[in-house]
């Protein structure tokens, strides 16, 4: 899954730590999502989209997992 969290974070002038704090997750989780190493749950994906006031599709794009 690809995502634009880093872009939205930059647009909102937020650090990973600040975003993590707002979403009640660890900074490493934000980092892992940004790097594509961890796909968030639907719940967290919605929380992220809602936080940036956009739809999920604007942030997350489905991509076939790499083998």
């Amino acid at each position: 899954m690809k995502n634009k969290i880093k872009v939205y974070r930059a647009m909102n002038d937020l650090t990973q730590d600040q975003l993590a704090s707002k979403l009640s997750v660890t900074r490493q989780t934000i980092l892992a999502i940004e790097k594509g190493k961890y796909d968030p749950s639907l719940n967290l994906a919605f929380k992220i989209a809602r936080f940036f006031k956009v739809t999920i599709e604007e942030i997350f794009t489905y991509a076939e997992p790499r083998e």
């Binding site: 997750v25 660890t26 490493q28 989780t29 961890y38 749950s41 719940n43 967290l44």
Partner: protein, 157 residues
């Protein structure tokens, strides 16, 4: 709850210091247990210590657990269990064989000896019992979580 237990919310680093102090205390209690030749102090101390650490962990104000850390913990616990139960079983069964071995068919019969169950036998039996308990506990948790996450739910149609 904080007021009742007189434990205030703490930072992650404070928790680590607290856990370190508990560990040092455990070492002290272990020493007392050895000196007294009685395992009871360390048994009680260990249970109380672990309970305090678990309690303190819940008082941490920083976010230290989220869905990713839970997933990591779940996967590593499962992998550990998958490997460890085999090792545990082998150790236990070896202990039982050492403790209860008697000539039967393969070995030549020797003059009868006073049957004794060595410490290995007892240890092996206890370990086997614990292993069985662990498997029952695992199955119990599997059923609990399967039910919680809809494994046994039926379609309405």
């Amino acid at each position: 709850m904080y007021n009742v237990l007189y434990i205030t919310p703490m930072k992650r680093n404070t928790f680590y210091v607290f856990a370190g102090i508990i560990a040092l205390l455990e070492v002290g209690i272990l020493w007392i247990s050895i000196d007294m030749d009685n395992p009871l102090p360390i048994q009680i101390g260990f249970v109380v210590g672990i309970a305090l650490v678990y309690l303190a962990r819940r008082m941490i104000v920083d976010v230290i657990q989220d869905e990713r850390t839970v997933l990591i913990a779940q996967k590593s616990a499962l992998r550990t269990l998958e490997v460890f139960w085999v090792v545990f079983f082998l150790t236990s069964i070896s202990g039982v064989i050492y403790g209860f071995n008697r000539p039967f068919m393969v070995r030549p019969h020797l003059p009868p000896q006073e049957p004794t169950i060595g410490i290995f036998g007892i240890f092996g039996l206890v370990q086997l019992a614990l292993l069985c308990l662990m498997i029952f506990l695992y199955v119990g948790f599997r059923i609990y979580y399967a039910r919680k996450y809809g494994e046994f739910d039926k379609d309405e149609e």
